[in-house]
Symmetry: none
Subunit: 413 residues, 2 copies
């Protein structure tokens, strides 16, 4: 039974969406890597009664609570007061902390307002976590047999204090040495429910065994991610559990899995081109440069990407790419564009996209229509798809769909 | 006394930090703009008992609760079940929703697995919010005199459903008669502190009067937004308050303001081209097609955008655009690219970008170097900039910086 540590992020600006709370996500990730569960994360405003309420709620459900934010020097930084109330303890000035704050201001030649001494107030019974980067110290506050950690809301101050003081203290309390390791398989070409069905036997078995856990992360036009998370006494054992499940998934899904963890369809395609020493030239109509833009977002794309002819106007398709007269949202146009791109850009492979992104139909073809041409060697492979979504969505689906076609072709070489 | 609506974001991946919950921050901002308080926002994992617990907690404190996520088709999407339990109602198949899902799969020529019908399960007594972008419908679920809204976790689906169905329903319940109107001025070219200084007198006066309120929203490579929010008995009065403040801001900032509300630099430039009946051709190196991709994300771009030559390889700059031998990260190359783009694409205006996105320097020039060439009429205008940030950031800054150069040139015609 793992120790449970929940998170309370304090700050009205978080609730108003003026700042996105990234701290609790970071804390959750770090806790998981330490084998500690975080089952509940809360955002609350700078209001004493509500902070106290959330701390009591969190303590009623978890063994430990990390509070971040509200440790500043101003009147609306009241996390210290809230914790003191929950502890039933008084706040007293900690001379050591006060001196450190005075020194810090002096060393920076800045005048210290009395407000700053608010940051030296410590609930009786709490242990101070010295600051190394800012002025607000952290706090370790026992509440019965449970504990509340107060940490700054400034991310880099929080990260440092979490690693230096909070996680070690939590690991020691948990006495549990389990390691949690996670791995993501990137897939394209099957719906979430389709994957769910194909992996049903594995999922059932994993549900029974409890580890590794399997979850689907829908990532829209980035495809579907399958996240495996394994918990074991050692990293090696956790890794072995992941490897076993990954092998089963790959055996079932085959080419649907295009990468792992930080791989993207773009990085995978670029790597395949590199390995085969083939250069790529693009001709884009419906995507208007998006395929090239996404490929060139990957450092080193210039090794294999020659460029792209964004032939948005019909005359440009003819004048630059040599597309013959006729409908431009067609398989024939896609073929001519692919051959034109390969010729004009001096590439080994030509990949072309033409279609209808909307908002209205074109040449009598509905929004979502995509024709792809892939010129490689003697053959020009084509694909015609109907893609979902509004303009931007359809364009993004066109990018990954056409790159996936190229990926499968390269793997077949 | 404003209506209170809290938020519950569902998903184990949010607690593990694999995805950062940006939805609740967005919801909080939208609620605030509607004069509705959001005092608590919670993240909880895919666990039925805990989701039910959080819903009951939220309902015990707020008048309404927005749940986002957990509406997918798979075994770990259990938000529907949790809400049904809180309502004390049964889940039944909604034939209309089921048909819509079947049609959607049919229209895309995709096989529908039975799992997808999980998304057509609706608690008795709940009202369906039809989906316009995905398969999972939203739900309006009365609980006593309170209400739970179920919305998808996919951001663009959530945003659309929030604006179309959830906020209107909440405003109606709140009975809040005052009208809150907001207007955003989009700016590019001045820092937040710079804007703050130039607008200081206005800001002080607004602080005293209390309305409209003025807030700066830093939007990175989209520039800085100035949001004015006015509250008044009628829309006309609120609008008048906004108009007055906007006029003052424009008088002070002049060309720094490039648009309002939903305007983007792309849409503004395209409109200026249309009004002047000028066509645009691009030559992109460092941005790799991103300028074209962003312009073509705007419906109707084809009126004025001829296309783009993404000349990523140096030989392509020479062979397609006729760039003479010499350093390619240079003002001369930018000029030759701009003239080449105009000629090859048959456009009135040629806009070209060459630079260094990193990770490493190029031709002895540091990461962040950008040279822009703008060919219009006889003259070729140039600009050389040093932009901040890593690869993607630098590329995005390059897009808006070069489009802003074009915008100012077009306004001077």
């Amino acid at each position: 039974m793992a120790l449970r540590c929940d998170v309370v992020a304090v700050g009205t600006e978080l609730l108003l969406g003026q700042i996105t709370d990234t701290n609790s996500a970071y804390i959750g990730e770090q806790l998981a890597l330490s084998g500690i569960d975080s089952l509940r994360q809360v955002k609350v405003g700078d209001n004493l009664a509500r902070i106290v309420d959330e701390l009591r709620l969190a303590l009623s459900r978890a063994d430990a609570v990390i509070v971040c934010g509200g440790l500043g020097p101003t009147h609306d930084d009241i996390t210290r007061e809230a914790i003191a109330e929950v502890m039933g303890a008084e706040l007293v000035l900690d001379d050591e902390v006060a001196d450190r704050i005075r020194e810090m201001f002096a060393s920076r030649g800045r005048r210290m307002s009395e407000n700053n001494l608010r940051q030296a107030m410590v609930p009786v019974g709490a242990t101070v976590i010295p600051q190394t980067r800012g002025t607000a110290p952290g706090l370790i506050c026992p509440v019965g047999d449970k504990v509340v950690y107060a940490t700054p809301g400034v991310p880099h101050e929080l990260y440092e204090m979490l690693e230096r003081a909070v996680l070690p203290d939590l690991r020691q309390r948990s006495g549990e040495s389990a390691v949690i390791v996670s791995r993501v398989l990137r897939t394209w070409g099957e719906s979430e429910s389709g994957l769910n069905e194909r992996l049903a036997p594995l999922i059932e078995r994993l549900d029974r065994s409890g580890t590794p856990t399997l979850a689907f992360l829908a990532s829209g036009w980035e495809g579907l991610k399958i996240r495996l998370t394994a918990k074991a006494p050692t990293a090696a054992e956790a890794g072995a559990l992941l490897a076993g499940a990954e092998a089963e998934i790959r055996a079932e899904l085959g080419l649907l899995v295009f990468g792992t963890d930080d791989d993207t369809m773009e990085s995978v395609v670029l790597q395949l081109l590199r390995e085969r020493q083939l250069s790529l030239g693009l001709a884009e109509s419906v995507t208007g440069g998006l395929v090239a833009a996404r490929l060139t977002a990957v450092p080193g794309a210039s090794d294999v990407l020659r460029g792209s002819v964004v032939s948005y106007a019909t005359e440009v398709k003819a004048s630059v790419l040599g597309v013959p007269p006729g409908p431009v949202v067609s398989v024939d146009a896609a073929v001519a564009m692919a051959e034109g791109a390969r010729r004009v850009l001096g590439a080994d492979i030509g990949l072309a996209l033409t279609g209808v992104a909307g908002p209205t139909e074109q040449e009598g073809q509905p929004v979502g229509t995509l024709h792809v041409g892939l010129a490689l060697g003697e053959a020009v492979e084509t694909a015609s798809l109907r893609l979902p979504g509004q303009r931007e969505q359809m364009r993004q689906f066109s990018v990954i769909s056409s790159l996936d076609l190229l990926r499968r072709r390269l793997l077949a070489l």
